[in-house]
Assembly symmetry: C2
Homo-oligomer: 308 residues x 2
DNA sequence: AATCTATATGTAGGCTAACTACATGGAGAT
DNA sequence: ATCTCCATGTAGTTAGCCTACATATAGATT
């Protein structure tokens, strides 16, 4: 029995098809099929059987996959202990991030890692809150966010670390009538033209909350994903929008004002599967992200004082 | 990290030198040395360091070896569960045995295994009681014996199964004055010429007990290892000897008489390391040995009735 | 002191086996 | 009926594990 076989069984259990596992591990389905038959020959037991267009684990395969989950995690922990006892963290760490959070977190991270033996492999995506958890199959650390609390929906069983809590402010054109106010209430902004995000995208939950609170509905003139594009349109006077405070850089023509009366912040969170989090390098990167997140909060706490 | 590396570290911890591990695993020391460096490179940590003529595990190596022990045992148990759930026991089982016990246990065992997918790899040795435990490094099952109790000395941490308790009888020439008696006491036999075994060999503990009990010393005319040779010399009239009842086949010129007043029996025991015992095939063979041992006791219980 | 022996390591080459590319086959979906 | 997705089979390439042999070192032996 080889680790490679345990890995394969676990991945099949997680992803369902050989093709999916092959894509995730940068191999061909043929290679996996051959490995599977090697494992079956060595164990003397059928592990998968055809089902619909794909395959399904047999009872024995299921058993093995569950045991593999446990064993691979123990191996990861052992390896982490060994590294911690006698070595510096090393190796590649795959980070998946939503772009707005990555924009402020990753440059300082790369800076901090320059002197270490840790390499970062980066991926970005812009997805719904409940899909962040699934990304932990591919990445060691997923930087996501939650609008509803400190742990994104669907992240049970994952290690979830809050990096920072970022206020979501109302972005206004500099010459907007409300730009003179220090903070804004739902009633202040319900009548404005809004630049929103697509349905089901995390940020949308706050305009929705405003609508519920005031009993009136918001006029969304356009729905966009990219915050920088939104920012440009706000500056140009198309409407107001909700933008994360840390990511929205000072820019001519746009001002940010805190929104009161609704919980307008997102928790930026790092998610990892337990086995991946066992790696020393992964924990080291998470630790650095927490520090960067803390610095970010502190810096912007000062900013606000200046503006106020 | 590969299972092969965990195995290697564990074996180094157990056997101390690369040469010993190489001999046990049928490889060259060079191969192991290369594997060690591969593991060190992958982990980024030194695992061994030169010490005296050989090597010694570093702190990290020690840690890894201990963790490997645990993980490899879990893998073995998982594999056993899978086999049990969907397959018949399979594969090679290495048995080390002391010849006298193997002589009666193994023929019926081979018979019982003929219909299965279990192959037996056999080794035999004639060693002191406290050395049986060490043999479990090489064999899946060690058939040994204990004169002092049900578990041989040095077998702590091993799985020990009593296969049978075999009386040790006094073997006499057919025409010996004492041959007419149904049983013999220490006083009866203390004055005879004895054919003994070498010092520290298990059987020697009983003549020693007789000497202690009677306060007189036994006259050993010769010390031999091989029971069949002893038997031949008894038949020829050289003296009396202590012989195991089940193994000493009916033979012209020799009679066996029970010895009373001292505990004259040996426990025949199967020993296995826990990780090896996890294999279904190993447990199956152990189970068969227990059955064969029980049959043996019953058969000879009848024998004695006949003779008495 | 010189030699011997046990142990580990380095190098070159052979062989196994894991992988890729490509082709085939089957089962749902359109 | 065709298309699409998924698994499997075949041939050839390649990586890496192992052996054989040579070398280095430290303790044991004479």
């Amino acid at each position: 029995m080889e680790i490679r076989h345990l890995d394969l069984l676990r991945d099949i259990a997680r992803r369902g098809t050989l093709t999916a596992v092959a894509a995730a591990t940068h191999r061909t389905p043929s290679a996996l099929s051959q490995q599977l038959r090697t494992a079956e020959r060595e164990l003397g037991v059928k592990l998968v059987e055809p089902a619909s267009r794909g395959i399904r684990l047999t009872a024995a395969g299921q058993l093995l996959a569950e045991g593999a989950e446990d064993i691979l995690q123990r191996i990861a922990r052992l390896q982490a202990r060994v590294e911690a006892s006698a070595g510096a963290p090393r190796g590649q760490v795959r980070i998946g991030t939503l772009p707005s959070a990555g924009e402020v977190l990753l440059p300082p991270l790369m800076d901090a890692l320059a002197a270490t033996a840790i390499q970062i492999d980066l991926d970005d995506f812009d997805i719904a809150e409940e899909d962040f958890a699934a990304q932990t199959l591919d990445a060691d650390i997923v930087i996501g966010h939650s609008l509803t609390g400190d742990v994104p929906t669907g992240a049970s069983g994952l290690i979830s670390t809050v990096l920072t809590r970022e206020p979501l402010d109302i972005a206004l054109p500099q010459d907007h009538p409300l730009a003179g106010r220090l903070s804004l209430s739902p009633e202040d902004v319900i009548g404005c033209d809004w630049i929103g995000v697509p349905h089901r995208y995390p940020f949308d939950s706050i305009p929705v909350a405003i609508e519920q609170l005031t009993g009136r509905s918001i006029r969304r003139v356009v729905r966009l994903r990219d915050n920088h594009l939104v920012e440009a349109l706000v500056a140009q006077g198309q409407g107001v929008a909700l933008l994360p405070r840390f990511t929205t850089r000072a820019r001519d023509g746009v001002v940010l004002r805190p929104l009161t009366g609704v919980r307008a912040e997102r928790a930026i969170v790092a998610l990892s599967r337990p086995d991946r989090h066992a790696r020393l390098a992964v924990r080291e990167v998470t630790k650095l992200l927490v520090e960067i997140g803390r610095d970010l909060s502190e810096t912007h706490a000062h900013d606000r004082h200046h503006r106020a």
